[in-house]
Amino acid sequence: MSDAVASARATAERISKLRRLNAVLTKQTELRKALLAQAAAARPTGVLYGMPVAVKANICTLEFETSCGSHILEGYRSPYDATAIARLKAAGALIAGATNCDEFAMGSSTEHSAFGRTLHPLDKTRVPGGSSGGSAALVAAGAVPAALGSETGGSVRQPAAFCGVVGIKPTYGRVSRYGLVAFGSSLDQIGVFGRSVHDAARVLSVISGRDLRDNTCEDRDPLRLPTVPENLDGFVIGIPREYFPPDLDPGVRRACERAIRILRELGAAVREVSLPHTPYAVPTYYIIAPAEASSNLARYDGVRYGPRAEGSLADVRALYRETRGSGFGAEVRRRILIGTYVLSSGYYDAYYRKAQQVRALIAQDFRNVFDRGVDLLFTPTTPTPAFKAGAKLADPVQMYLSDIFVCTANLAGLPALSLPIGRVKGLPIGGQLIGPHFLEDEMLEAAYALERAVPAAEEA
């Protein structure tokens, strides 16, 4: 038996034992079969040979349904592999199932999946975060060393922080979006979860690099992994004061302060900085992302694929209304409505155009800091640890605010990652590093050093 086949069997076994988490949407028998078939075809010389990588259900694979956690794409099978998937396969990795997520990646708790919520692996009453909650939970539970997620406004880093794993969102344009089902195209990037910085970085390196199928993907070579540094001498790390508001969870604050002490001990110069437009990030995000989503999700109309509402063929408008009304969940419908509104003639200037202007100011805030000698920023990833299931379902704005520290990097297109920096009452806390465009290597160096020095499993 080859190493890959052994890995495929063991992976199927581990995932089947975690069914209670509802992290994987693929059926057990189908998953096992697909893993074994891939193992038989995997190239032993690939750099990820035999490594199982689970994939969020909004990234197209030939093996699994690309349902996006939505009834409207239930049963949909892509006729092609996303570029990231094709590269993983070429490197010998095994695609280990489609993972649960908030419908069309819209949500911060994986409670908005049409196929039921994913449980937090450490506390089933809590959410794993979202929208890539299935991938985060699966890595946290030890079923796979790495998984792909996607980010539009923190959907990898936030669940990584909640579940206590590493989550990387690369620079916009670092990884091809071809085959990532679009939500907010100007914000979307495929991101990576890993048990460790190195596991996540290895996968990121394989999937990164130019792709002629995506015009927004930069003409650059794949990311080269840095070596683990001895210390952080010479690094200047900025601490943006807007990310430490008075109402920040005290446990999160303690964990961050400890991490900052460790960064200093490692030799980094730590400096307080200001990103003054931070308070506008969430409102700006909730105009731009829904606007793009309202257009990106127009194609789910029941005409060509996906379920079609029965009895609505007589009138094409009724077909749209019924198919979309029953196929999309409440949160997706809410965002389509918001997005349609902000793009409407008469409102475009007041909302969409204004939001783009504010977005430019948010990006400028980061440039100003990086231009003044700061190499990286360190912040909490989330304002609180993982919250209870149902706690924020009634109040969408509270749910949106859980992404307050993560959506800025998407608006500015910057690389960012979250890594575990400690626990509070047993729940993981994530610390975030944000770097300048396409300087993932420096961000990873700092993450390697901090990861080695921080007592992530200990109470802060």
Binding site: C60, Y178, S295, R317
Partner: protein, 481 residues
């Protein structure tokens, strides 16, 4: 009927939006074939099907042709333009939006001169020219009670060319469209084939009492699918608006559909129900930044345009303007004509042959110019040198057109070479005179008009081979001997 500026006391104002399919091998944003007429849904891929996760990649050749079109229309070409999404739901629009351009189009501020039937040569302003993709096609008559969708056309590259409100009669609108079609075909930008839908027209129409008044409320007339219908559709809408206004009813902003079967314009939707397309910049595509050398390359690739060529033909070849217009109507004919002249034919006979035999033959044979330019020049030289009569040359032309071959060889094979040899001519003349003693006597008695009779007899005896220019001289000589 009064002139363009005044129809029953009203001035008509028309602006046109023309969609033209670019002559590319592949589609605007994917590598699928842009061919027309293939079996439904065979030229499709994840991109033009709008499948989840697929992304557009612009077709360089389409952008180059659009730049060429902009230059041919004297536009300012913008080195940086923005793709935008035009959002609306329709079953043949697979993404639920069309990738087009909106706030920052590829080109603006151009013009096109055309011959108005009422005002002579006038210039229409081109407000903007932008690139976009086509939608698929809804087939309402393929299956009973169902609409089928063919997405072969989805993603085919188009330019939209928008004029100012510069036309004052339906006839002017038609004349502009013919000139536009002529220009785009010439420059190799589009085949402008209406049958294939590669040129489609929407018109904005309004009327007002005098040119000093503000523009009247306009309506948009859609679905004008042929040049023949342009004048009809616009005339109907103009007359409808005048009738409304004269009855004291204001014009409501609306979209009208032209129904060619009923020859009527019908109300499609009013302004309140008009689409809000929610345009916004296409986030899947960075700004379209033209490589610095493209405009110059496309300017160089632009052939001599019809108007310039027409004037040159008049000046260079001494042709009447009418002949020059006929010869430059298509680039193929113009190039053919010049080929004949360059092969040595005199310009005027060459023009007569091309406009006569060549175009008549082409009309019957799918516009093919079947006799090579060099062969036609040789045929013209044979006539000029007296080797072939004009009538005989037409026979040779038909033969060469049908079967090919060298004109002289064909003429010899057909026995049509004119005989100029004095001995041979004398033999035929002697035969004829010997056979017609009565006529010879009458001629000698002073009936001079009988010379024509003898010439005819000689041509008959020679089976047309005797050179008709030489025969009278030989006859005179013999008869006066």
């Amino acid at each position: 009927m009064t002139g363009a500026a005044n129809h029953r006391g009203w001035e008509t104002v028309i602006g046109l939006e023309t969609h033209v399919q670019l002559s590319t091998r592949t589609k605007m944003f994917c590598a699928c074939s842009a061919a027309f007429g293939d079996p439904p849904n065979t030229n499709v891929c994840p991109v033009c099907l709008g499948l989840p996760g697929a992304l557009p990649v612009p077709n360089e050749q389409a952008v180059k042709l659009a730049v060429r079109a902009a230059l041919a229309l004297q536009c300012t070409v913008h080195p940086r333009s923005i793709f935008a999404r035009k959002n609306y739901f329709y079953p043949d629009l697979p993404k639920g939006y069309q990738i087009s351009q909106f706030e920052e189009p590829l080109a603006t501020s151009g013009s096109l001169s055309f011959l108005s039937p009422e005002r002579g040569v006038v210039s229409a302003s081109i407000v903007r020219l932008h690139v976009e993709e086509d939608a698929g096609k809804s087939l309402h008559d393929r299956f009973p009670k169902a609409t089928a969708v063919d997405l072969n056309r989805s993603g085919v590259p188009l330019v939209e060319i928008v004029t100012g409100p510069d036309f004052h009669s339906p006839g002017e609108a038609r004349a502009y469209l013919l000139e536009l079609k002529h220009l785009l075909e010439y420059a190799g930008i589009s085949d402008c084939d209406l049958e294939k839908g590669s040129l489609r027209v929407d018109a904005n129409v309004s009327v007002r009492r005098s040119s000093g008044d503000p523009l009247g409320t306009k309506t948009e007339v859609k679905n004008i699918n042929s040049f023949a219908f342009v004048e009809k559709a616009l005339g109907l809408e103009r007359d409808r608006q005048i009738a409304e206004l004269e009855a004291g009813r204001p014009i409501a902003q609306a979209t009208m559909l032209y129904d060619s079967k009923a020859n009527a314009v019908r109300h499609q939707r009013s302004k309140e129900h008009s689409h809000d397309y929610r345009y916004f910049p296409e986030p899947d595509l960075p700004p379209l930044v033209l490589p610095a050398e493209w405009p110059d390359e496309q300017r160089a690739a632009l052939p001599e345009l019809p108007a310039a060529k027409r004037e040159r033909f008049v000046a260079q070849y001494g042709l009447p303007r009418q002949d020059a217009a006929v010869l430059t109507h298509t680039r193929a004919v113009a190039d053919y004509y010049e080929g004949v002249v360059h092969a040595g034919a005199d310009p005027k006979p060459a023009a007569n042959w091309v406009m006569g035999e060549a175009l008549a033959d082409a009309k019957d044979h799918g516009e093919a110019l079947r006799v090579p330019a060099g062969s036609l020049a040789e045929l013209i030289a044979l006539v000029k040198g007296g080797t072939l009569s004009h009538q005989a040359a037409k026979k040779v032309y038909a033969e060469v057109a049908a079967k090919g071959g060298d004109p002289r060889v064909v003429a010899e094979a057909l026995g049509l070479i004119q005989v100029v040899d004095a001995g041979a001519l004398a033999t035929w003349v002697d035969q004829v005179l010997a056979a017609s003693p009565a006529e010879v006597a009458r001629f000698k008695a002073g009936e001079a008009k009988l010379l024509a009779f003898f010439v005819g007899q000689v041509m008959k005896a020679s089976k047309g081979k005797a050179d008709p220019k030489l025969v009278p001289g030989v006859l005179q000589e013999k008869l006066s001997a």
